[in-house]
Symmetry: C2
């Protein structure tokens, strides 16, 4: 029997726990606040930041959204981020990616103070993840690990195949699975024998961004499939990278899109915001 992983439900459980923590922090006079910056009017980005703000509200975290024109100068963006870095009442700052082409994402990410970098994308937070000595984990990789933990799927000794090597998902997910004693393989557009490699996977993570990319001929029976892709199919319907119906027949566990990794990513963002507030207020545990 295939287990359809309900990311929305797991995320709801986590958010309920986080809401309790937010309440406890309020009792200590710590009121959490997340700043969300959107540059331009990418329609997907608009939906994401709306979801993030709603999730904040759900658990009692304040959120401030800054919507900036797509032609904003890097200097002005820097000034805003510096201002937010300095504000004691802001615990976390996130800049929704992608950014317009004239702005370097790397440069902007590095403007955010590492202590408020709740996406954990800056160099020092990335390095800490790789070294294994981290405070924040990037949200999607952390969400994937939480799903596996929740479903009691052992990672240790398992062949974990990650398709996609982005800085945001592929690489950090590989590093996290490695820290959990998985044997990791990272594949990408230059990989030969992709099918053969995927067929060896006990845990298959797809973060490609292409509908229908992983089909039934690429997975073995009993595989755990985590679909990170967010695409539109030919009918304009939201879907992942995985041919869900056919792959589900072979998988022991599979995440749907929507309702799989996505809600977990947002839950992890909230977790990081609380963690940031605790660190900023020298609270070890809440």
């Amino acid at each position: 029997m295939t287990k359809y992983i309900d990311g929305k439900k797991i995320a709801a459980e986590i958010k309920a726990e986080l809401a309790v923590k937010v309440k406890l922090l309020k009792q200590k006079n710590i009121f959490l606040s997340l700043a969300v910056i959107l540059v331009g009017d990418n329609s997907a980005s608009k939906i994401y930041i709306k979801k993030k703000s709603e999730a904040c509200q759900e658990i009692g975290v304040n959120s401030e959204t800054y919507v900036l024109k797509s032609d904003i100068s890097i200097e002005k963006l820097n000034a805003l981020i510096n201002h937010l870095n300095d504000r004691k009442d802001i615990n976390g700052i996130l800049v929704q990616l992608p950014l317009p082409k004239h702005i370097s994402e790397n440069q902007v990410i590095e403007m955010i103070s590492a202590e408020k970098d709740v996406d954990a994308f800056c160099a020092v937070n990335t390095g800490k993840l790789m070294i294994g000595n981290y405070k924040f984990l990037p949200c999607t990789p952390a969400g994937i690990i939480e799903i596996l933990r929740h479903e009691k799927i052992e990672i240790s000794g398992k062949r974990c195949v990650i398709v996609g090597r982005s800085n945001i998902v592929g690489k950090p997910t590989a590093m996290l699975l490695l820290q959990n004693d998985g044997t990791i393989t990272v594949c990408h557009r230059k990989t030969k024998n992709l099918k053969e490699i995927c067929l060896n996977a006990d845990i298959l993570i797809s973060a490609v961004g292409q509908a229908g990319f992983i089909n039934k001929d690429m997975v073995k029976k009993g595989v755990v499939v985590i679909d990170v892709g967010i695409n539109r199919d030919s009918n304009g319907k939201l879907c992942g990278d995985v041919c869900f119906e056919q792959v589900a027949k072979l998988a022991s566990h599979i995440t749907p899109v929507p309702g799989g990794v996505g809600p977990m990513t947002i839950a992890m963002l909230l977790k990081n915001t609380i963690k940031a507030a605790c660190l900023q207020n020298q609270i070890l545990r809440v």
Copy 2:
């Protein structure tokens, strides 16, 4: 025909090029200096730092060696590193690992200013490597890439298997091979089917630290073998992780120990020291 890779010779070629750069910098009144810190009296460490100092001398870089007692306090070590961070005439600082148990290596590494961290072990330099936007590369992984480049071994699309997942070798080597479009697999003590995975490798990197770990049954014909291990065999003779004689018969290329990766690591340290001096003096290219 197996190609025995002569790391000593490749390193000598690189050092000759670097010596020219050092001379050119001297003409600009920039005199390079590397500070090397040894804590305790680990006999292998003593040999390594001696080799590093000699290599500096060879290309005209000054080196200062600080030998500290093994019971030194972290505060005193911190004071020394801070002093070296502040000194304008010191371009690079390296603390020879391992450190005595009472001192946290992570903590000490983070004391070194990122601009002088010529081992590239600190979190921000590690993160920059992973993101792909780096100034320094850690020396052993960089040395491995240089060997492959020198031998005109294509990495793109190749199955690269890294055995060992240390922060110093395994993980950064995997990230660098990935950036060079290799398909990477990282194995470790929890890996099952290690033999089967190694048999699929086009490029096999062993960084385990165990003599005789990789034998002929674990490699396919035509494999490129890079041996990062430094061990003693039962006769006390220096050797790598690989059963050299038997694996060499199958490999297209193989690095010996000693004389393979080791000299390349030192050459990369010199390269980083020059790079550090250039960055500190706003020189884009020498």
